[in-house]
């Protein structure tokens, strides 16, 4: 088990290095940060001086290695746009994104599993069919459109919920939370629905199809033949087996909730990492972009690792040593 985790961790580091390099080399196509910083009237010698100062004249690989070696020490450089350490900016923005991801992830997983199980068990019922048809909307409507529709209905027409921002936040050390105030909680509702709807319908449809597959298995038939209660058959036997494959997807979806909150954060002007990243792109703020991308890949890799470890606890077949696996 420990050896397995170590091996996976080593693989993860490799993945991070590669992702970082790819991201780093793509920045060259976004534009030249010097243009943005000095404007069009800049003198050539100023440009050259700044370029050398920022280390942008060095070859790509050298830049990358410099970035990595200071990143490991917790130094992500200074933002070109804001002139402050990137690490500080990220720490300031992270709570907003993480709280939003937590709420919408919880919504997506809980409703996704409940609806998935329901539509699988009552697969021919009216309610199940209705949910399935409605879920097509969640899958096919783009996130920004859902966000705008929600804002139109609940903020503009009905005036029940705020259309942008985090509301009032409370500081707990360096962490700012929106959970503690009424306006903070109200502000969370629309963005988390917008962000979680797609994931929810995806999880629901996946749970449904996996559950239908599991319900066809012999051990479910045998559980029925043993006279077990319907509830036991569905939840103790069928659902747990359904969750094995679903866990992977849920893990990856959690990653994308954090990573691709960009659209939702833009629509709702949510002061999180996604919005920061969008602004950074406009300003060709390479240190911010690089740090953000590394952060996101670390998150994905950690979630994947966590999911793999989770398998060990769900599925006993993976716990066997290789040597006796052929028994």
């Amino acid at each position: 088990m420990l050896a397995y985790i170590l091996r996976r961790a080593a693989q993860s580091v490799l993945v991070l290095l590669v992702v970082g390099l790819i991201a780093f080399s793509m920045f060259r196509f976004i534009g030249d940060p010097i243009d943005n910083m000095l404007g069009q009237e800049a003198q050539q010698e100023d440009i050259d001086r700044l370029r050398t100062e920022l280390g942008l004249d060095a070859p790509l690989l050298v830049q990358y290695v410099r970035f990595l070696s200071s990143a490991v020490q917790g130094d992500f450089g200074v933002s070109y746009g804001q002139g402050r350490p990137v690490a500080d900016i990220l720490a300031e923005r992270a709570p907003a994104t993480l709280e939003l991801a937590l709420v919408s992830g919880t919504l997506a997983i809980s409703f996704g599993i409940v609806f998935g199980v329901f539509t699988a068990i009552r697969r021919n019922g009216f309610a199940a069919q209705a949910i399935m048809s409605l879920s097509l909307i969640g899958v096919s409507l783009p996130t920004f459109l859902i966000g705008i529709l929600l804002i139109y209905v609940f903020s503009v027409e009905l005036g029940w919920l705020p259309s942008f921002g985090r509301g009032e936040t409370v500081e707990l050390g360096w962490w700012t939370t929106g959970f503690a105030t009424r306006s903070g909680l109200l502000a969370l509702i629309l963005p988390s629905i917008t962000l979680g709807l797609y994931q929810m319908t995806l999880i629901m449809r996946l749970v449904r199809s996996e559950m239908l597959e599991v319900l066809r298995q012999d051990y479910i038939r045998f559980a029925r033949a043993r006279g077990l209660r319907t509830r036991t058959v569905y939840f103790r036997h069928a659902l747990v087996n359904t969750l094995v494959p679903v866990t992977t997807v849920i893990g990856l979806q959690l990653g994308s909730i954090i990573a691709f909150g960009i659209v939702t954060e833009t629509v709702f002007q949510w002061p999180g990492l996604g919005l920061l990243f969008v602004n950074a792109i406009q300003f060709v703020d390479i240190p911010v972009m690089a740090a953000y991308l590394m952060l996101i890949s670390v998150m994905f890799v950690l979630i994947n690792l966590f999911v793999d470890v989770l398998y060990f606890f769900i599925d006993p077949r993976l716990r066997v040593d290789r040597s006796e696996a052929s028994a």
Binding site: R224, A225, G227, L228, H237, N241, I314, A327
Partner: protein
């Protein structure tokens, strides 16, 4: 054979199963009647699609819709059970009727320990505490010949071999002491060397407890080994039923005769295997009269017209207008 057929455990009368399809009404089981006495093993044979498994599923109440019991009666120890509600039927399953499926590798939930699957079954049907249920589970594993049952009870299914798993399945089926066991191809998925052990185990346990067994198989060898009586099904109908030695030696229905002489084990000593020409008609295209007539050497006009012959045609032994009279069997 000494079995008490006057008080059968299971009694089917004219059991008919229907499936509504777009192309019309199918009858995978059509007017099947038989009894099984306590402690008796009735072997049911027939080729795929003959309605063997469908009959078993109908008895235990596990027909998948749109299949449904459309007629006839199922009685368990004299009580009608085909009219019970699904919840009443659920209580009966495992407690009074057990079922063993073909593939022991897939019959057990891979994520639960063998012991947990045993105790959940025991505690569903018997009013026992956790410890008592566990002891009973260990005893059940011990009885089916799993060594070191006290430790193996904590194993997961994947830690057992195929034969061991089928033993565990048998323990699961018998742990709440049902009076009837439906074994649907219990050895088909096993190694040949293990098959005989499992059959012997099933036979011993059911004899000891007076459990009636409906042994569904297409393996005549298994039937010859284990069954007291044999029932031959063809196209959803009963073709022949009788004492196993009698039917194997002197089959009277031409289909039973053909089936036996096309089986190596049963036709040992015969010069060569015979085959039955043609194939079983599909349920969507059953002919009028006897379903076997088109493949039958003995068929006459009467076979192809009117109602299909029933077991009464030959004093409850054979559903054939012109059964083979032994003494005139071709050499």
């Amino acid at each position: 054979m000494g079995h008490d057929l006057a008080n059968p455990v299971l009694s089917l009368r004219d059991l008919t199963v229907e499936i509504k399809t777009r192309r019309g009404l199918l009858k995978p089981v059509d007017g099947v009647s038989f009894d099984i006495a306590p402690g008796e093993i009735l072997g049911i044979v027939g080729e795929s699609g003959a309605g063997k498994s469908m009959t078993g599923n109908a008895v235990i109440g596990l027909l998948d819709p749109p299949a449904r019991i459309a007629g006839g009666e199922v009685r368990l120890a004299g009580q009608r059970i085909d009219t019970l509600s699904s919840e009443e039927m659920r209580r009966l399953r495992g407690k009074q009727i057990g079922m063993i499926f073909q593939d022991p590798l897939t019959s057990l939930n891979p994520l639960l320990r063998i012991g947990d699957q045993l105790t959940e079954t025991i505690r569903t049907h018997l009013d026992l505490g956790a410890n008592a249920a566990r002891e009973r589970a260990i005893a059940a594993l011990d009885e089916v010949g799993i060594p070191a049952a006290e430790e193996r009870i904590n194993s997961y299914p994947h830690e057992f071999s195929g034969g061991m798993r089928q033993r565990a399945v048998i323990a699961l089926t018998l742990c709440a002491e049902p009076s009837l066991v439906i074994a649907d191809e219990p050895t088909t998925a096993l190694d040949v060397s293990v098959q005989a052990q499992i059959i012997a185990l099933l036979k011993r346990l059911c004899r000891q407890r007076g459990v009636a067994v409906m042994l569904i198989t297409h393996d005549i060898g298994v039937i010859a080994e284990a069954a007291d009586r044999i029932a031959v099904m063809y196209a959803g109908r009963m073709a022949e039923i009788g004492d196993v030695a009698e039917v194997l030696r002197r089959p009277r229905h031409p289909y039973a005769d053909g089936l036996l002489s096309s089986t190596p084990a049963a036709s040992a000593g015969q010069a060569r295997l015979r085959q039955i020409p043609g194939a079983m008609p599909r349920l969507t295209a059953l002919p009028e009269g006897c379903a076997f007539a088109a493949r039958c050497e003995r068929a006459q006009d009467r076979c192809r017209q009117g109602a299909a012959p029933r077991l009464e045609a030959d004093n409850g032994r054979t559903a054939c207008w012109f059964p083979i009279q032994h003494g005139e069997v071709e050499a």
